[in-house]
């Protein structure tokens, strides 16, 4: 884990994605875009200090020509000119997501939402549907990439 800014090569950003269980990503990247609480935002090297919470959404980063996608569920981002730290409660790389399971989860969540029930249950179903859709979407990205 690189601690200070000056070990980062110029023109690059250090991206760290951390979950309570582990350090998921620690790489030098060219660009990051993330789903902030008040809108998606992009980060290039030299960005000003910035701190925000995250929605459920897609985190995307670029190393050279290679594009990478991740799903993040809640959390927050600390941006400094040379380093982006993403602290997410749950985060998965696109290549780690099981597409079939993601499909199944979407179907299940949709069904639950349709069934209705108490407002809290509906809300819960809605959130899990959102999560499931997101994972599906991120997983599909990777599929497309694979074919390209």
């Amino acid at each position: 884990m690189a601690e200070t800014g000056h070990t980062v090569p110029s023109g690059k950003l250090l991206l760290e994605v951390v979950t309570p269980d582990k350090l998921l990503v620690s790489e030098y990247v060219d660009q990051v875009s993330a789903p902030g609480a008040e809108g998606d935002f992009g980060v290039l090297p030299g960005h000003c200090h910035f701190l925000t919470t995250l929605r459920i959404g897609e985190l995307h980063y670029r190393i050279g020509e290679a594009e990478h996608y991740m799903s993040v569920l809640w959390g927050f981002v600390d941006v400094t000119p040379r380093k982006v730290t993403v602290l997410a409660e749950v985060a998965e790389k696109a290549e780690d997501i099981d597409v079939d399971r993601a499909h199944a989860a979407v179907a299940k969540a949709e069904e639950r939402l349709e069934r209705g029930g108490l407002p809290s249950e509906v809300e819960e179903a809605r959130v899990s549907l959102e999560k499931a859709r997101l994972r599906e979407k991120v997983a599909e990205r990777r599929k497309k990439q694979g074919h390209a």
Partner: protein, 298 residues
């Protein structure tokens, strides 16, 4: 004098016990390795979060936040972290002794004390005692995950904000090394220091300040962020404590089972020796009888 058969049975029985303790030791060793890895891999998150919260607390006026503010009240809660299973030496006994002592001391000072217990052993212990239990979390260590810490954190913070108690202490076994676990009492709420994860008085924010000099953009604003981050910080602390305790438990069990295996070995040796002596004595006696009989026939 025990019969030869009963001695044979005894040896077989101790051997069986030894097999079990040996297996348990192996299992504990494997689990310990995993628990240690989990502690290590949870550290980056905890550290990063602490740094961020510290940045934030410097900017926003920290006194304003209820989780940081000291309260005057006399209601104390003790979170006792024990294991779910036994057979781990003095692991639980140490914790519970310390906890009882703590409770008695604070009760004597006129504080209103309450207990919440994580781990089945602690729940059982306090249920048989006179202390008031506010909340129990039994059976979480089998599949310990961050979710448990989330639940626990949410519950505790909610009650803290509602004024159920004014300060929260935790007592748990810290994992020092495989041979050594230390019982620690820590104050978790109000959050007093963000400097070190142990919560002790650390050096005053020396390296943190220069970073925060540049203008920071916050989205949403500082207070709202702090509002979400501080509970998270607390949950991470709770998670850390649970992980520490889980690792310490496995270490304690491993040590205890190692001792048990060795003791069983000694016992087997002793009984085997006695068995052989008895057997020989019996043979000698029979020989004497035969010789005596032959003499008599002459």
């Amino acid at each position: 004098m025990p019969s030869l058969q009963s001695l044979r049975r005894k040896i077989a029985s101790v051997k069986n016990t030894q097999k079990i303790t040996k297996a348990m030791k192996m299992v504990a060793a494997a689990k310990l390795k995993r628990a240690q890895d989990r502690i290590l891999s949870s550290r980056p998150y905890a550290h990063q979060l602490r740094d961020v919260v510290r940045h934030l607390a410097e900017r926003a006026s920290p006194i304003s936040h209820p989780l940081l503010r000291k309260r005057e009240g006399h209601k104390t809660e003790l979170l006792v972290i024990t294991s779910d299973r036994g057979l781990c030496g003095a692991f639980n006994a140490n914790i519970l002794r310390q906890a009882t002592e703590f409770l008695r001391e604070h009760a004597e000072q006129g504080e209103q004390v309450r207990v919440s217990a994580a781990g089945r052993k602690g729940c059982d212990f306090f249920r048989r005692r006179t202390w008031t239990i506010r909340q129990e979390w039994p059976g979480i260590f089998d599949r310990l995950s961050f979710e448990h810490a989330l639940d626990m954190g949410q519950d505790i913070i909610q009650h803290y904000n509602d004024g159920t108690f004014d300060q929260l202490y935790v007592v748990y076994n810290e994992f020092k090394s495989v041979m050594q676990q230390r019982v620690v009492v820590e104050k978790l709420l109000p959050i007093e220091s963000l400097d070190e994860e142990t919560g002790g008085p650390g050096p005053e924010r020396s390296e943190g300040t220069p970073k925060a000099v540049g203008a920071y953009l916050f989205e949403p604003d500082e207070h709202e962020l702090l509002e979400t981050l501080l509970p998270k910080h607390f949950q991470v602390q709770a998670f850390r404590v649970l992980l520490e305790s889980a690792a310490a438990e496995q270490a304690a069990r491993m040590t205890a089972m190692d001792g048990a295996t060795r003791n069983a070995g000694e016992l087997i040796q002793k009984v085997t020796l006695f068995y052989n002596k008895t057997r020989q004595a019996a043979i000698t006696k029979e020989l004497m009888d035969i010789v005596g009989g032959a003499e008599a026939l002459k």
